[in-house]
Amino acid sequence: MTDAAVPTPPSGKPIRGKLSRDDIIMRGSMIVIGLYLLVTMALPLYAMLSKSFSTYTFNLGAYEVQVSDETGANFSEPVSFAAMNAEMGVVSDSDLIAGSDGRLGVTQFFPDFSFRSPVMYRVRNTVDGGRFLVGSTLNEGTDWTELDSNTFRRVQLRPEKATGLGNFQAYFSTPALSNSIKNSVIIALISTVITVTLAFWFAYALNRSCMRFKGLFRLVAMAPILVPSLLPGIALVYLFGNQGMLKELLFGASIYGPIGIVIGSVFFTFPHAFLIISTALAISDARLYEASVVLRASPWRTFWTVTIPGARYGLVSAAFVVFNLVITDFGLPKVIGGQFNVLAVDIYKQVIGQQNFEMGAVVSVVLVIPAIVAFAIDRIVQSKQVALLSARSVPHAPTPHAAKDWSLFAFSSLIAVFILGMLGVCQFAALVKFWPYDLSFSLNNYQFDRMDGGGWGAYFNSIKMALLTAVIGTAVVFFGAYLVEKSNGFKTGRMLFQMFAMLPMAIPGMVLGLAYIFFFNNPENPLHFLYGTMAILVICTVTHFYTVSHLTATTALQQMDREFEAVSASLKQPTLKLFTRVTVPVSLPAILDISIYLFVNAMTTVSAVVFLYSPKTSLASIAVLNMDDAGDIAPAAAMGMMIFYTNAAARILHLVASRGIMARTQAWRGR
């Protein structure tokens, strides 16, 4: 058809479809959930970013001083410290950048100063709200304060707020801080290579061999997901610490530092890498292997030209996921890192140890960069993945091969022993009375109420928090995903929503938690009543784990034909009725998966909530951290294992429940 054939439409507004009530409800709901993501993620991150530019500097012009002669009378003309500094150059500009708790002594501006001299001094702020201390008393007014020499040496100027890049300058010019970038990246790279290699062979054994006990191995491989990343650190202390059972294996090297972080990281990232690679290896085309046999390729060659290319997307994706998990992890390096500084722990140290929130924000910004890059590359690679299986493919089935099967069995057993050993050590340590001097068993380490961290109350809080997160999170995430997938038009809105939903994956938990302090603990924020409540922990956790849940939900929803909506519309049924009567029941397996995912993660998360818990809402995972911090390692192990058992029980419950529900609602899937 050519342009000429199209009759020009009459001038006027372009015709647009009328919005039905359903559309309005759906768009309204989408905007509500979009706003939720905006408030719980975008705005706090913005608050954090602006905090990183908020500096404290000494404003020497804001104070005036007068000096008397030797008799203590006849004061000189008032002069500001700025003028004196311009003349004498006592402090440089970089000395004027300070933290919020900075103090600047004033006697350095008086070369002849002696605290025994009879000279008197007067000092004042030139504007209201200026701040200087005499001893530890704060002076904010503009009245002159007269002081003798001995008291004048106790005067300290306080910095005032400003905006600028000063914090970033300070960060990059302090090697103690900026070295952590290198440390973090190196640790993450090494852990990634080791984990992906091990996970690949493990997944290979499970998918491409005929070894025995595959189900059992699969179960064991998933166990690390059920514990906080602090736990492998604690296990390593008992295994390789100075009193460790296997200390000799390290040949004198210290477990506290990079070695410990790498071993622990391999432990807690293993299941993530294994799952992704296993999916990639699960399906393959037998015809390619036949071709390779026909062409007389050696098994080695076949492996490199058929197997690896087939799994390449899985491998790349696993690598970036592991990299991201390691570089953003806080719990493990906190426990086992020793003096080896990494970014995530730096944030904690800056904020918790030194009250330097601005520097904490700067480190957060630095940490977000590699996390976002890794995440973005992973998304790009994933989007390039094409279907390996066509209609003509023949599924590849492994054939028995004794030597190969047994060597893979031996390898898998080693991995299983590694994982179970770490957990076993923690349980053993938790039951021993006083390691290593009194090895009799006792339950002393379970008296959590006598330790830091919130006691048994923290454990029950954790369960409550995890349940709330699972229920509320699943509802919000699934409904949000439904709206994005199934509403009509409104393209910009849907795209924005998708973007918001993907963002949490790239934001490290520490960063999110810190951003929440800045945003919610601001008294001008109408939402600040949430600060210190259970609600903020639930909100933070839902947001932190939003992306994976969202992706699970959209995948399930994409399997449902949009014609359901069309049919329901033509039957004049409201979409929400369709949602509750058809969509939800059909998608129940996915909904259950999301809820267990949220539950388990809420039980184990430390990084996002460590800045947000209050005494009434202390959590089990935080208790593990705090007990370990105070040197109570055995009780920390005990609490860590409680989390493991709870999560394992939740998993089993989930399995039983899904079986039951599937039988009732998913009968249609079979024939």
Binding site: G99, S100, D101, G102, R103, G105, L133, G135, S136, L138, R154, Q156, T174, A176, L177, N179, N183, G241, N242, Q243, S254, Y256, G257, K334, G338, Q339, F340, N341, K349, V351, I352, G353, Q354, Q355, F434, W435, P436, Y437, D438, D449, R450, M451, D452, G453, F460, I463, I517, N521, N522, P523, H528, G532, S614, P615, K616, D629, A630, G631, D632, I633
Partner: protein, 340 residues
């Protein structure tokens, strides 16, 4: 009082909880850095005379609690601070965050333990004193001889066997550093720390951790405080508590009311209680030095010469130079990436 379904399961616990809930009229949020295992005892003793005030503890290490309080400057969550380092309270005072109040009976206390202003912004409870925890079993294994002074700790034989708290996050760590600078002078003090750093296996986040690590044999020497050492020793750890001959740093735990509290009356009652003889006897269970003269009895396993070794501590120096000292400390020692 929340009634969580799970607490109901624990029958007796629940009954007890509801019993207290029935009497509690006011709830006070009390920030503290007192050891966790003592908190229940403190609250019980207080509630014996004041059953109508319920204490909600917020406990963390000194640095964390100080950070929390400073962060909440514009939106204070605490009503009372009971048991935080005087150095930290001076910081809070300089931010105008403390409500000056002279508790009934404050005259009876040793004036050294009371803020100089009238009415005082804070009142002291007890002093906690630095000490070295020395694991005799591990020492024998490693062929070490016991140190007698701070300077001894820089000896090459202790390389990798010393653990101390990070002064940035731990009050104990900071009082050590501040005492070394006060005793040895700036230059010699930093030179001493340079040498000590060579022997340090690692710096911990909390001040009690080094002693607990020494008790567990994870390290041989833990720079910590005497109270913690005495406790671990009582628990059966093979520890000697060594008081270095040059003198030891100390800080006091103190109490203050947070300005702007909604429960001023209850807060004042609590602070009144904290200066009583009864309260001081309670502190004395763990602390050999308390604010109320004549109360202190010797504490089991406490080193005897400890009191004579406490230095003249300049709290104002410590508070006002804290930022500068920590910056210097971090520049020197925090950047070393390998625990050598």
């Amino acid at each position: 009082m929340s009634s969580k379904p799970l607490t109901k399961i624990l029958g007796t616990v629940a009954a007890f909880a509801f019993a207290t809930a029935a009497y509690a009229e006011t709830e006070l949020t009390v920030y503290t850095a007192v050891e966790a295992e003592d908190l229940a005892r403190y609250a019980e003793t207080f509630n014996a005379s004041h059953p109508d005030i319920k204490i909600n503890w917020v406990r963390d290490s000194t640095g964390v609690i100080t950070a929390k309080l400073l962060a909440e400057r514009d939106n204070p969550q605490a009503d009372v601070i009971w048991g935080l380092a005087a150095t930290s309270l001076l910081l809070l005072k300089s931010e105008g965050m403390l409500e000056a109040y002279a508790p009934a009976g404050v005259e009876a206390l040793d004036p050294k333990f009371v803020d100089g202003d009238n009415p005082p912004a804070w009142v002291g409870m007890d002093a906690w004193v630095a000490s070295v925890c020395y694991n005799t079993v591990e020492a024998e294994k490693n062929g070490l001889t016991p140190p007698t002074s701070w300077k001894d700790l820089t000896d090459a034989q202790y390389k990798g066997h010393v653990v101390m708290p990070n002064p940035a996050s731990s009050g104990t760590g900071f009082l050590d550093v501040s005492s070394w600078l006060q005793m040895f002078g700036e230059e010699e003090g930093w030179a001493f720390m340079d040498a000590l750093h060579g022997n340090i296996a690692r710096y911990t986040h909390s001040g009690s951790a080094p002693c607990k690590l020494a008790a567990a044999g994870e390290t041989t020497i833990g720079v910590s405080f005497a109270f913690r050492g005495a406790k671990s020793k009582a628990a059966g750890a093979p520890l000697d508590i060594i008081v270095p001959s040059e003198g030891v740093g100390w800080d006091m735990e103190a109490t203050a009311i947070v300005a702007g509290t909604a429960n001023l009356e209850a807060a004042q009652k609590l602070v009144d209680f904290t200066v009583t003889k009864e309260a001081n006897e309670m502190y004395n269970t763990g602390y050999a030095v308390v604010a109320y003269p004549g109360v202190a009895k010797p504490v089991e396993h406490f080193p005897e010469n400890l009191l004579d070794k406490m230095i003249e501590n300049d709290f104002e120096f410590a508070a006002n130079n804290r930022a500068a000292i920590l910056k210097e400390w971090q520049g020197r020692y925090d950047g070393k990436s390998d625990p050598k």
